[in-house]
Amino acid sequence: MHLHKYEKVWLTFGMASLVIFLLIIGFAAFWKGTHPQSHLETIDQNNVEAHDSFKPENLGLTEVADGKYKVNIVASAFNYDFGVDKDEKAVKTIRVPQGSTVLFTITSKDVVHGFQVAGTNVNMMVEPGHISRYEAVMKNKGEFTIVCNEYCGIGHHQMFGKVEVY
């Protein structure tokens, strides 16, 4: 098949850029460990409390080491359960100091949800029977809105929370 000379130049340039591009994202993924959230653990969605992370007393924020935190969440239509505070009131805001490393672990009791801490790289699908997990360093101070970004029913837009980095 005949290819015009300019077309050969164009396609060679295009394909070379493509190879470089794929090498960069491949390097970032496999050597730097920046894969998207792909946790492989499953769970019985009808009995999430049986899993240690989702026992009612383990929900919400826990400091595991200096500057290291974990946040466990159970999603259900149309709410994120971050546990309760000292006064037995539902927690809606997670407060962590600037620069801390936070491991978010979340699962769903019913339908598919999303979990995005807007303005950060924390963005996960949350599915019944699966556990989603993503670790992020909260580098910037401020208030970050948590939004459910996968349609979960007619109350979907009322499903949210907040992360405060102080």
């Binding site: 098949m1 005949h2 077309e7 164009w10 396609l11 295009g14 493509l18 794929l22 994202i25 491949g26 993924a29 496999f30 920046t34 894969h35 998207p36 959230q37 792909s38 946790h39 492989l40 499953t42 019985d44 969605q45 239509a77 149309f78 805001t93 019913d110 339908v111 598919v112 999303g114 995005q116 807007a118 303005g119 790289n121 924390v122 963005n123 996960m124 699908m125 949350v126 599915e127 019944p128 029977g129 699966h130 989603s132 997990r133 401020g142 208030e143 970050f144 809105t145 939004v147 970004n149 996968e150 349609y151 029913g153 007619i154 109350g155 979907h156 837009h157 949210f160 929370g161 907040k162």
Partner: protein
């Protein structure tokens, strides 16, 4: 037979009636779906509530299903039937099969649409399990898909019969392209058909208790990405084989066009994981492999871009413009059959760049399920594809109704294209920015916790309502043009512009029509990309999910 003569010969009435039927449904869908889009942007502006207790997610579902699945599929089948009729002909039996296809799809569409409108299917066009719509929603969708298969196999048969009568000749380019697109469609929609028929229908009827959520999502996205190429390839058909004729040129290269379509067939299907990048339960290595396969589409896209601009330049230079860019000024800017698709091509530059970002493994986490994605596909499908479809309709509809695209209607078409461009620039740009700030897609108006972050993005929703309003004016104008072209334009013969090959064109290699080879490679690639991860997903399945009706407002 002389190509030009054939271009000017109208279809027999009974053929034209079939092709036109698909066009009626297309433009009714445009009006209905467009109205829903307008209402959505109004609700999201925060200054408007829907009357009669209509739910936001009902109109969102109608918008997605009617525009994404119904308008596109009907236009594509009608257009492709017309292309096949023009290039390889249609027999009485094949025409009857065409009607069977049309009616199955129409019955399915009405069933699905009614189920959504009565509030029994607020599940959006992706209908993710375990949200459970009324069974009629899934049965209607299955009918649309199966009806489209009847159309596909009729197209295969049309080319087969032609080939038998023309031993040793290469198939007409457009017929070849139609068959590629329909092959891709059948192979891809098998995934969603299996999900709907084997998983959703028995589950929604109560014959099975639970559904495997991740399997259903994976089957959906196995179909979901080739779906967008199924929309795009008819636009490519026009760019490769019709636009050259409109601008007074010839085909750039028959074999290059065929090769691009073959590559699109091979690399459109084994790529669905790039819609599932942030999902649990799928190994990230397999996600990456599918990202690499996704990016292969860059190659036929670059080939297409080159051919199109080469065609423009060659046509311009033949008219005697020798300066470096002089030929560009002399393109037929006043001809809407060229101008509308051209704007579509331009929109594909930011659209394509956005697509590369979305499918970039890690970068996706920044935009996944934000309204950036909505902005992205309103550039690709709702500008590139739809403006090219409009560009086709300006000559196809009058060709089918035996009327003429008058100067005045042509001018209205140009105005329509400009209105569309302005409206979409405002709406899509606002969506892209809001998405980068973190604003989610598929959500009714919400101030969430009312934080400072929400303040940064909520204003863009007003901009989207302004863009949406302008776009709806464009839809009204397009509907008016369609009605004029169908019923009122003066009688005459509008050309069916199919470009011819250059007399001294190179011979097209025979291997490009070796169907066994290309279908074989396509299936092998799919098997490579999906077998192991699919086995993993099934082997490590959690308990299945029961149907959830109450979250979508079903009792």
């Amino acid at each position: 037979m002389d190509g030009t003569e054939n271009n000017l010969r109208l279809f027999p009435k009974k053929d034209a009636r079939l092709y036109m039927s698909f066009m009626y449904v297309t433009f009714v869908s445009l009006l209905v779906g467009g109205l829903m889009g307008l209402l959505q942007t109004f609700v999201r502006s925060g200054r408007f509530t829907l009357p009669f207790n209509i739910n936001y997610y009902t109109i969102l579902t109608v918008h997605g299903v009617i525009l994404g699945l119904v308008l596109t599929t009907f236009f594509i089948l009608g257009f492709q039937f017309a292309l096949m009729g023009k290039t390889v002909g249609i027999s009485d039996k094949q025409r009857n099969a065409g009607w069977v296809s049309f009616w199955m799809m129409l019955v399915g569409t009405v069933m699905t649409a009614v189920t959504i409108l009565v509030g029994q299917a607020n599940v959006l066009y992706t209908f993710y399990a375990p949200l459970a719509a009324h069974p009629a929603f899934y049965i209607g969708l299955a009918l649309v898909i199966i009806g489209s298969w009847v159309g596909a196999f009729t197209n295969f048969r049309q080319l087969y019969v032609w080939k038998k009568a023309h031993k040793g000749e290469k198939s007409p380019l457009l017929a070849f392209m139609v068959v590629i697109n329909m092959l891709m469609w059948v192979i891809a929609s098998l995934g969603v058909a299996i999900a709907v028929v084997v998983q959703f229908i028995p589950w929604s009827l109560g014959y099975t208790e639970t559904i495997n959520v991740l399997v259903s999502r994976t089957l959906f996205w196995y179909f979901g990405h080739p779906l967008v190429y199924f929309w795009l390839l008819p636009a490519y058909m026009a760019w490769y084989a019709i636009i050259p004729k409109i601008i007074g040129g010839k085909l750039f290269s028959d074999s290059l066009a065929r090769l691009a379509f073959i590559l699109l067939l091979m690399f459109s299907i084994p790529v669905g994981f790039h819609h599932q990048l942030t999902e649990p339960g799928i190994d990230p290595t397999w996600k990456f492999i599918q990202v690499v396969l996704t990016m292969m589409v860059v190659i036929p896209s670059l080939m297409t871009a080159f051919s199109i601009f080469a065609t423009f330049e060659i046509a311009g230079r033949k008219k005697g413009f020798s300066s470096l860019f002089g030929w560009f000024k002399k393109l037929p800017w006043g001809d809407v059959r060229f101008f509308a698709p051209f704007v579509g091509m331009v929109a594909f530059i930011p659209g394509g760049i956005g697509g590369i970002i979305n499918a970039s493994h890690q970068m996706n986490a920044l935009v996944h399920n934000t309204i950036w994605i909505t902005g992205h596909f309103h550039l690709t499908v709702a500008t590139t594809v739809i403006l090219t479809y409009f560009g086709i309709a300006y000559w196809l509809v009058p060709h089918l109704t035996g009327r003429r695209l008058t100067k005045q209607l042509n001018k209205l078409g140009i105005i329509q294209t400009i209105i569309w461009t302005v409206g979409m620039t405002i709406m899509s740009t606002a969506m892209h920015i809001q998405g980068l700030l973190g604003g989610p897609r598929r959500s009714a108006y919400s101030e969430y916790a009312g934080g400072a972050q929400v303040d940064t993005w909520i204003g863009y929703q007003l901009a989207q309502a302004i863009g949406g309003t302008i776009l709806f004016i464009g839809i009204l104008l397009m509907t008016y043009i369609f009605i004029k072209l169908t019923f009122f334009a003066p009688r005459g013969v509008e050309e069916f512009p199919i470009a011819a090959e250059d007399e001294d064109a190179q011979v097209t290699p025979k291997i490009l029509e070796n169907w066994y080879l290309w279908i074989g490679i396509t299936i092998a690639l799919i098997a490579f990309a999906y077998t192991i991860p699919m086995i993993d997903i099934i082997k490590h399945s959690p308990p299945g999910s029961i149907p959830f009706k109450w979250p979508i407002g079903r009792m």
